[in-house]
């Protein structure tokens, strides 16, 4: 069927900010979809609140709206743009929920706008648990015994009758938010109560547990002519019970016979046909490992994280094809873009195996609850391709960047027996390392199977790795054994550890014996047809398919898995760098291992190597391709960390030299550079021991900012104001990483300012100066940033420009540089320089219109800023105000304190733009899902230090009609300032726990509409207030842990209302 001609203009809804459960995969899907629709001649209007995405680039859609994805704003855009249709199935759960809300509101009918892709009824049938179960019964497809509950009592009654354990899944929440497995009534009570609150329809599904079943997924597609196919099936390493987003996943299925595979394929196709989906759909099934019994667990009637994985695993671009299906094209009239010769009506055949491992944030959230269950906790994932499972797994492990170059971690190596067994039986993020360790210690695969229900075939793959370790150990520097180990994916580093020799020795032995990887093509068809897709993976085999180009090439290193502190922003900059390299006449080669992203779409670069980003893996590609050089500035810390070792081996690093990168990153060299350049910085020292450290505050004074050197996202950074806390911090830090120096700076309280600059060696272009809402002390990634700055004087700005230029030249920057300043009483200090693209590059690029990563890349390749059409210096500020606001995923991370501080905690960001700060802030809050009532109670739970500032805020809250709630100990001071307050705790109660519990109850009863909480910032009482914060997060009440954010909200509230003043 040809494409529809009755529609011309289509709105695509994006997925908004990155949160756990909804990450970069929707930037990939959305970008593909927009381009795909434009390719067919449609006008595309895009709405997404997330500026750190490729899809919000103006080249991707005809009109790009970076506005909150809320009924209010999307309706406005619809009224203005009057599209003929909306495509809501590519923006994750956010896009789908928005579509439902718009439809329910009636605006779609009013404006005559159609929904493409999936009918509303199908969305309901797939997402509403009750309707879903009824549909499955009609189809004769088994679903686990279950019940829909609206109260805790209903849940208890079901479990009483069906038996424990039971699984709780709240309806319409993403990533299984709020769900879990319950073994007894107490657990059930807690989880259901939370789940009901989190579900927008106050509904939970409660079902019998089928833990231990194989978890299998099918990615299916269907078109309007009822052609349906399976793009890929996948099998989880972990049996049912762990969210698929938190499971290690293999593609295709590995332990299913054809009979089992076809049985589940039939079920999946029957479901997509019945739902009538036109596009992509994901079906999750549970298969009994001991019979043909199976259950349908879940259906996602849209493009999902799994479909991004399936696209990268097979090469088949699901989102691109789904978008074309949505406008009426059928699978048998579209070409398979991978082969270019066959049709899209095709089920890919793989001749390799794919392993995906999630990337969890527990390296940063050490206190977080690491237990895995039905609630997804991973922030990102890596994928690796191999021709055996051992190879795919080991490549995936070393792609994670968690300090594991092999199937082992220091903690797993050193674990005692009790810990080992605990780590195996209660699945956490690092279970696979403990499984391997148990095998090393003589456990059998059968024993581990009994403890975990993990399939013996998978456990034997781990066993094989352990056996190879033993063979290596017993046969040092044996070439045949080396060959065998490389074939099964061992890294040189792992081998050198086992051989107890130098890494270089292993590398040399390989070179001397010609042991090197070849590269194979991902072609969807197992080589049955010719295909020229430039999408490669390495393996140890005979025939190399990747031929170096005769054109000049540049290698760009990507940023690996999404984690806190290194998000989708770096994929954005990577993709932009590639574009610029191509514009400059080179071929661009990308190496990356993140299946969710745009950069790993094979159509982005001239060549894509889907590989781990370790020195060894990068060197292999360089050996083959012989690029002009490597660009490391755009792949975050992942790429920057590779600069020095690559340089040491004589590989040209393009842009700022390694020596100069080091001058920005090494504390002592950096201090020296600042001193030489005459730029003030907070006084600070480096210490290597507890004793050294304790001497320092006497020289610089408390409070001090302490942190380990060379870290991402402020990890391990704290503000400390006394000796006891400092000692305790140092003791912890020395245990964590004994060889790393600790940096101790005087903590300057002031306005934090951030600048991204581009330098071509001759001139510096400063696209903009961003001012943070939160004062220094809150990590820049967790602060709200405003552009243009609202409070800085021209003089301060001039100083900032001056320092930026001095630093650019002084550190011989070639390319990008990010500088963070603190301004205190007109005095400007430099606190940090990152000699690379930073997380603010996409935001600043969008608001200034300067494609910064591209300009920087072309500067690196020799084209001056002036030749590119830009004037050096500070770029002229526009009339609009833009706010970048952080977005957090605290609802998914139990035991992680939502208190903001020097350590980064946010997972994503949104942008709000308008004609003034208040309106821009309003949008930023709306976009980040913080909805504040116009009236109600504001609860102040603050420390003594914050009283003075709080009084002013309280006064203003009262002025617009809010009631002010305070703790009993504070009431006198508030009343003294003339603010009438309600004391919510009694002064007679002195027990802190009791006070906290009273406040928690108040929050749970929803008596406070805004909560300001600044307790627990000091190290000695960091648990203080945590229950309050947890309660606020759980009840979805706006929680402000910084006085500055509270003031920002106040601006919005004041601006939103009318003045209510009595006559005087």
């Amino acid at each position: 069927m040809p494409k529809r001609t009755d529609i011309h203009k289509i709105m695509v809804i994006g997925s908004g900010p990155i949160i756990i459960g909804q990450a970069a995969e929707f930037d990939y899907a959305g970008t593909q979809a927009c381009l795909s629709l434009r390719e067919e001649g449609y006008e595309v209007v895009l709405v997404n609140s997330n500026p750190a995405t490729i899809m919000t680039d103006t080249e991707i859609a005809d009109k790009v709206y970076i506005e909150p994805i809320t009924l209010e704003f999307v309706s406005r855009i619809l009224r203005k743009e009057r599209p003929d249709a909306i495509l809501p199935t590519l923006g994750g759960q956010t896009g789908l929920n928005m579509a439902i809300e718009l439809a329910n509101d009636g605006i779609l009918d009013e404006l005559g706008i159609q929904l493409l892709g999936t009918k509303l009824s199908a969305i309901d049938q797939a997402e509403d648990r009750d309707l879903f179960r009824n549909l499955m019964r009609e189809l004769n497809e088994p679903v686990p015994e279950s019940d829909i509950v609206h109260t805790v009592d209903e849940a208890l009654a079901f479990a009483e009758q069906a038996g424990y354990p039971v699984i709780v899944r709240p309806a319409f929440t993403m990533g299984g938010t709020g769900g879990g497995i319950c073994n007894d009534p107490a657990e059930l009570r807690e989880i259901v109560a939370k789940g009901l609150k989190l579900s927008p329809v106050n509904q939970c599904l409660i079902e019998i547990s089928i833990a231990g079943y194989k978890e299998i997924e099918y990615e299916v597609m269907r078109d309007s002519a009822d052609n349906a196919l399976v793009v890929c099936n996948m099998e989880n390493f972990d049996p049912v019970g762990i969210h698929t987003g938190d499971s290690i996943v293999f593609a295709p299925t590995l332990t299913l016979t054809d009979h089992e595979n076809q049985m589940l394929r039939d079920a999946s196709l029957k479901i997509i046909r019945t739902l009538g989906i036109e596009g992509g759909c994901n079906v999750q099934l549970a298969l009994d490992p001991n019979s043909f019994n199976y259950y349908v667990i879940e259906v996602n009637p849209r493009v999902s994280r799994s479909s991004a994985l399936a696209s990268k695993a097979t090469g088949y671009p699901i989102a691109k094809i789904a978008a074309k299906i949505a406008v009426g094209l059928t699978l048998d009239e579209m070409i398979n873009p991978v082969t270019g010769t066959t049709l899209a009506e095709f089920e890919p055949a793989l001749d390799y195996v794919v392993a995906k491992i999630p990337r969890w944030p527990f390296d940063k959230f050490e206190k977080g609850d690491r237990q895995l269950g039905t609630q997804m906790k991973a922030t990102g994932e890596v994928m690796a391709i191999g021709t055996n499972l051992e190879e795919a797994l080991l490549k995936a492990v070393r792609s994670l960047e968690i300090g594991a170059e092999h199937m082992a971690k220091t903690a797993s190596r050193e674990a005692d027996e009790v810990t080992l067994i605990d780590k195996i039986t209660r699945a956490q993020d690092d279970r696979i390392f403990y499984l391997a360790e148990a095998l090393r210690r003589g456990y059998t695969i059968e024993q581990l199977h009994d403890m975990t229900k993990i399939n013996l075939y998978f456990l034997d793959v781990l066993m094989h790795i352990v056996e190879l370790e033993n063979t290596l150990e017993a046969n040092k520097e044996d070439v045949a054994v080396l060959k065998e180990a490389k074939r099964y994916g061992f890294s040189d580093l792992a081998i050198s550890r086992l051989w107890e020799n130098d890494l270089a020795d292993v590398r040399d032995l390989r070179a001397a014996n010609g042991i090197r990887p070849v590269y194979k093509t991902v072609d969807t068809c197992a080589a049955e047809f010719e295909s020229n897709t430039p999408y490669y993976y390495s393996t140890y085999s005979a025939d190399n398919e990747s031929m170096p180009s005769d054109k000049k090439t540049v290698l760009v290193l990507g940023s690996g898995p999404i984690r806190i502190g290194q998000g989708v922003e770096f994929d954005y900059t990577t993709v932009h760098s590639v574009k610029a390299i191509q514009q400059a006449g080179y071929e661009a080669i990308i190496m990356n291992n993140n299946p969710e992203t745009v950069s790993t779409d094979f159509s982005i670069s001239d060549k894509l190597y889907f590989e781990p980003l370790t020195l060894e893996d990068v060197l292999h590609v360089i050996d083959l391709e012989q690029p002009e050089g490597v660009i490391v500035q755009f792949g975050g810390q992942t790429a920057i960390n590779l600069a020095e070792p690559l340089h040491a081996l004589g590989i040209p690093i393009l842009g700022t030299t390694v020596e100069d990168l080091d001058r920005a990153e090494d504390r002592d060299l950096f201090e020296q550079a600042l001193t030489d350049l005459g730029i003030p910085q907070p006084e600070g020292f480096t210490a290597m021991s507890v004793e050294d450290t304790l001497q320092i505050p006497s020289k610089i004074g408390y409070p001090v900012l302490v942190r380990p050197s060379y870290v991402l996202g402020g990890r391990g950074m704290e503000i400390v104001d006394n000796d006891a806390d400092l000692r305790s911090y140092m003791e912890d830090a020395m245990i964590a990483s004994p060889d790393r120096p600790i940096l101790i700076d005087h903590y300057v309280v002031g306005t934090e300012v951030e600048v991204d600059a581009i330098c071509d060696g001759e001139n510096v272009l400063i696209p903009g100066i961003m001012e943070h809402i939160e004062r220094s002390g809150v990590h820049s990634g967790d602060s709200m940033a405003v552009y243009p700055s609202q409070s800085l004087s021209d003089e301060v700005k001039a100083t900032i420009v001056d320092y930026t230029e001095r630093l650019s030249f002084g550190l011989n920057c070639l390319g990008m540089m990010n500088i963070q300043f603190i301004v205190q009483d007109g005095q400007v200090y430099v606190i940090e320089v990152n000699p690379r693209a930073s997380r603010t590059v996409p935001f600043l690029s969008k608001v200034t219109g300067i494609p910064m990563a591209q300009v920087a890349t072309r500067a690196i390749l020799g084209e001056s800023i002036i030749d590119q059409g830009y004037q050096p210096g500070l770029y002229a500020e526009g009339n609009m105000v833009h706010v970048k606001a952080p977005v957090f995923s605290f609802t998914k991370l139990n035991l992680v304190d939502p208190q903001l501080g020097p350590e980064m905690k946010s997972t994503g960001e949104v942008m709000g733009s308008d004609i003034n700060l208040q309106k821009a802030l309003y949008k930023a809050f709306a976009g980040s899902n913080i909805h504040v009532n116009d009236f109600g109670n504001v609860l102040f739970t603050i420390t003594k230090a914050d009283v003075a500032e709080s009084l002013a805020l309280a006064q203003r809250f009262r002025q617009i009609g809010f009631s002010v709630m305070v703790t009993g100990d504070m009431q006198a001071e508030f009343e003294a300032a003339g603010i009438d307050t309600v004391a919510v705790t009694s002064n007679e109660v002195t027990d802190e726990k009791e006070i906290e519990q009273t406040l928690v109850n108040l929050i749970t009863e929803e008596r406070a509409q805004i909560i300001i909480n600044t307790w627990g910032r000091a190290r000695h009482d960091q648990n203080s207030g945590q229950l309050i914060r947890k309660a606020a997060i759980e009840r979805g009440v706006p929680l402000l842990t910084s006085i500055d954010t509270a003031e920002a909200i106040l601006y919005v509230l004041e601006d939103r209302g009318f003045q209510i003043n009595a006559l005087v």
Partner: protein, 362 residues
């Protein structure tokens, strides 16, 4: 133990032996199916062939007692990338290696199967030798080149005596050219009372069984090497409804004046999309054939093309314009592969029903 795959072109692939240890000569082909190795290697259409699996992990779920497609598999050899060390599935009775030893089928593993596949893709299917360590390659190549592969494959794999698979429904005579058990399973599911007869059974012998329908099965090799089947088909066609699968399809076409040709590297896998011309419906089909029917040759016959492969547009199905006879090049019986086309068995039942009704009215 080292094992060597020597191609007719002189190319060699050094790998490791598994399964039986003997040396063999055969035609080397590849299949892109990612599951179903047990069904494939017991499929008699692979008689005399060395089967390469493009999916690199084979043997993961072992070999079970249920998924056989024939009693005595005659595939010449198995070529794999990796063979599972520890098969795991609830129905598994033995490992792939044990199975191959038991049935005296040699295997080679740890070779670059993608490179081999590409070689076959560009040179076409070819003869090859599977050799043991230490064999004189030059001599082996000379032997290989001088060897003519047998053309009596159907005779080798067809049943020697007729047998019955009783049930209460329609009488179906299945002419066994190398049948897959799944054809019997599908007929059984539809309650057909099946009599399986040898490939060289005459029309008279078949008609004497008073069948409601006759099924022409799949089988190995070149359809033109069994001309005796054509006379049988011509005599039965018009009297009894006919349904041909794979080789059976090619024979139906030849009997009606069509021609077949040898394909460069054939269709072997489960992801071949086939369009039914009349409805536009597309099924993903299980395929295993090295010969195909020439579309042009059908122009002046009484057959019309009903199905085509959507990529290379080869003939995938025909029916007689006036008589109750139809056939498909692929396997609606699946096993291994998708069940998309199993409705064709229902069509066969309908055809028999209609034919009966027709007889009744006369």
């Amino acid at each position: 133990m080292e094992k060597i795959l020597l191609l007719e072109t002189g190319e060699t692939f050094y790998g490791e032996a598994f399964g039986a240890t003997k040396e063999v000569i055969g035609e080397v082909v590849f299949s892109t199916g990612m599951t179903g190795y047990q069904e494939s290697l017991t499929d008699q259409s692979y008689n005399g062939q060395m089967l390469t699996f493009t999916f690199p992990l084979i043997g993961n779920y072992g070999v079970n007692a249920d998924d056989f497609e024939s009693v005595d598999p005659t595939v010449k050899a198995i070529i794999c990338r990796e063979v599972a060390r520890f098969p795991s599935n609830w129905r598994s009775k033995m490992s792939l290696d044990e199975f191959l030893v038991e049935y005296d089928i040699p295997g080679i593993k740890h070779i670059d199967t993608r490179q081999l596949t590409k070689t076959i893709r560009s040179h076409g299917t070819m003869k090859a030798s599977l050799l043991n360590e230490g064999t004189d390659i030059e001599a082996a190549l000379a032997t290989l080149r001088a060897t003519d592969l047998p053309t009596n494959q159907v005779a080798q794999v067809s049943t020697k005596t007729r047998y019955v698979n009783p049930n209460a429904g329609k009488n179906v005579v299945v002419v066994d050219f190398g049948l897959k058990h799944s054809i019997l399973r599908e007929l059984n599911k539809r309650e057909c009372n099946v009599t399986v007869v040898p490939y060289d059974t005459t029309a008279q012998e078949i008609l004497r069984l008073a069948p409601d329908g006759v099924m022409l099965t799949n089988g190995p090799g070149d359809p033109t090497s069994i001309p005796e089947a054509l006379d049988m088909i011509n005599e039965i066609q018009g009297k009894i409804p006919l349904f041909g699968i794979c080789l059976g399809h090619q024979l139906l076409c030849l009997a009606n004046g069509g021609e077949t040709f040898k394909m460069k590297f054939g269709h072997r896998g489960f992801n071949h999309p086939v369009r039914e011309i009349a409805t536009g419906r597309i099924d993903f089909t299980s395929q295993n054939h090295g010969y195909a029917v020439d579309a042009d040759s059908l122009v002046h016959t009484d057959l019309e093309i009903t199905h085509i492969e959507i990529n290379d547009e080869t003939v995938e199905g025909v029916r007689h314009k006036t008589l109750p006879a139809f056939s498909v090049q692929y396997h609606p019986d699946a096993a291994p592969g998708p069940h998309d086309a199993d409705h064709l068995f229902d069509r066969f039942i309908e055809l028999m029903d209609n034919n009966k009704n027709l007889e009744g009215t006369i």
